[in-house]
């Protein structure tokens, strides 16, 4: 579900490139139907309604165009998955979003914190923990410039409890398993309550079982914290299992923009997931080939 759907009194249609099917369905019902016991309240338009938007964004490296006029609006709270073959530009998209790279042309608007602080966090494919800092200290890196000292300590312990590693707070990263390290990296990304969490194939290096465990953890925390998630992956099953919306990038363009209007928790291997998965794979590999 997305935040725009919760602004029933805003008459002007919210300008997003793509409304989710869920949002459309919600808009067609009257507010009293969704909250039968609470009178709907007029809500001031929250500037956070759109988490970020790409407007005609291109990124070229020399002659090579990696991203070609991308237009993308993502409402706050959405779980977006970005799929594409290697080298399609999906990682570049994430680097632009997190400010690691600048677009060649076009404008990128990202919602910042109240004081303009950076509230976008990224989780990399590798945990990238500081080997010389204990687990709790590594999580506190996520609070750089936001909190320090005792407050940071408490926050980091709280989020470590959330990912099930509170008892490892005093250990060195080298003694943790790959999955545990990635959970610490997730805790570090989430400790400052980001508006946007960018995930660059964070589960790619994990074994299949740890992966499913991590997907569930990620979904649970996303449902709790309601940040906007952008998951770059090449695992189509993972994308449809987790995301509200999947976009497929091919040769620098958005080749498919698909809503996944399924209830959560989703069951691995259900027929609806399989159908959507098939649709995405067709786009990726071209129906004409099959």
């Amino acid at each position: 579900m997305s935040v725009i759907a919760l602004s029933p009194k805003s008459d002007a249609p919210v300008k997003t490139a793509k409304d989710t099917a869920e949002a459309r369905a919600l808009r067609e019902t009257t507010p009293t139907q969704w909250f039968p016991y609470a009178a709907p309240q007029a809500r001031a338009r929250d500037p956070r309604d759109t988490a970020f938007s790409f407007r005609d964004i291109s990124r070229k490296f020399g002659d090579k165009t990696v991203l070609d006029n991308i237009d993308l609006d993502v409402p706050a709270g959405q779980f977006l998955a970005v799929i594409g073959k290697s080298g399609c530009g999906k990682s570049t998209l994430l680097r632009l979003l997190t400010g690691l790279d600048k677009p060649t042309t076009g404008t990128l608007t990202v919602n910042k914190g109240e004081n303009g602080e950076n509230r976008t966090r990224i989780m990399f494919q590798e945990p990238r923990l500081l080997p010389w800092a204990r687990i709790a200290k590594n999580v506190e890196v996520g609070l750089t410039g936001i909190a320090g000292g005792e407050g940071a300590r408490e926050k980091s312990l709280a989020i470590l409890r959330e990912v099930g590693l509170a008892d490892r707070a005093g250990e060195w990263p080298s003694v943790l398993s790959g999955g545990q390290r990635q959970r610490v990296a997730l805790a570090r990304a989430l400790v400052a309550h980001p508006y946007i969490l960018a995930l660059d194939e964070p589960l790619g290096a994990l074994d299949a079982l740890t992966r499913i465990e991590m997907q569930q953890l990620l979904e649970r925390i996303w449902l709790q914290q309601k940040f906007t998630a952008v998951l770059v992956t090449h695992d189509v099953a993972e994308a449809v299992a987790l995301a509200d919306r999947v976009i497929v990038i091919d040769r620098g363009r958005i080749a498919l923009d698909l809503d996944i209007p399924l209830d959560r928790p989703r069951r691995h291997g259900s027929p609806e997931l399989a159908r959507l998965e098939g649709q995405i794979l067709d786009t990726l590999f071209g129906e004409k080939a099959g």
Binding site: N118, R121, A133, V141, S174, R188
Partner: protein, 258 residues
């Protein structure tokens, strides 16, 4: 159980030197080794006691250690400063690295005649030589350490909004520390080596001077004693560096005891 095991493990390292000492003593006493060639361990111990009582030994060790350490501090801090500067700034590296690498290829002990011409046999000559000898291992390893810091960690630090200072103290310096320690231990070895050579050639005090004086008077026991003390001081410096290493690199898997 564990403690006795540890003691036993430490003791095994000393077993061989003990046997060597014993064989040496026996060979000297039976006349197998002529007293003009090598003094017996007991004679060396006697010389140690004699010089200790006269205060000569302590004074000379003090003089030599003070020289070694001040040369080390001067050369080491300049080396560290250049290593950090060239590791962090491409401009600084382009400007100075080629020159430093050229100077590095001159054996610093080859400068002794020149140094004597410049400084005579005063303290500055020894400080200069030690500082020069210590400079390069520290410089090269600090530079290497900073260049080998995982760029992914640096990128992570940037994304999380670390300022340049925070990035340096939280990511770059700790990452470079293992290499800096390698340089430190090399430098300590070179520090003693340089000092011995400098003191043997031109000095009026210090352990090297003591050994040279003893040679003049054919006091073989004192010569052997000086050499042994050099060995001990070198070992002491190395142990100190290892202790520092263990304290600061606790996170490193190589320093973790299961």
């Amino acid at each position: 159980m564990k403690a006795t095991g540890q003691i036993l493990k430490n003791a095994t390292g000393w077993a061989l030197p003990a046997v060597i000492l014993l064989v040496w003593e026996i060979a000297a006493r039976t006349g197998l080794i002529s007293p003009n060639v090598m003094a017996a361990p007991s004679a060396v111990a006697e010389a140690f006691w004699r010089l200790l009582l006269s205060g000569e030994l302590i004074r000379n060790i003090g003089v030599s250690t003070a020289r070694a350490l001040s040369g080390f501090v001067i050369g080491g801090s300049i080396g560290l400063a250049f290593g950090l500067a060239n590791g962090l700034s491409g401009l600084s590296r382009n400007l100075t690295d080629t020159t430093l690498q050229m100077v590095r290829n001159i054996p610093h002990l080859a400068l002794i005649p020149l140094v004597i011409l410049w400084f005579g046999i005063d303290e500055q000559a020894k400080l200069f030589l030690v500082a020069l000898g210590v400079f390069f291992p520290i410089y090269v390893n600090t530079l290497l350490g900073i260049q080998s810091v995982d760029p992914q960690l640096v990128e992570m630090g940037r994304v999380y909004g670390m300022s340049r200072t925070t990035l340096f103290f939280r990511v770059i310096l700790p990452g470079a520390l293992p290499a800096i320690f390698v340089g430190l231990r090399y430098a300590l070895g070179i520090m003693w080596l340089t000092l011995i050579v400098a003191e043997t050639i031109a000095a009026s005090s210090g352990l090297g001077y003591m050994a040279m004086q003893a040679r003049e008077f054919l006091l073989i026991d004192v010569v052997v004693l000086s050499i042994l003390i050099y060995a001990l001081l070198g070992k002491l410096a190395d142990s100190f560096a290892r202790l520092l290493e263990r304290l600061t690199l606790q996170w490193h898997p190589a320093f973790q005891t299961a």
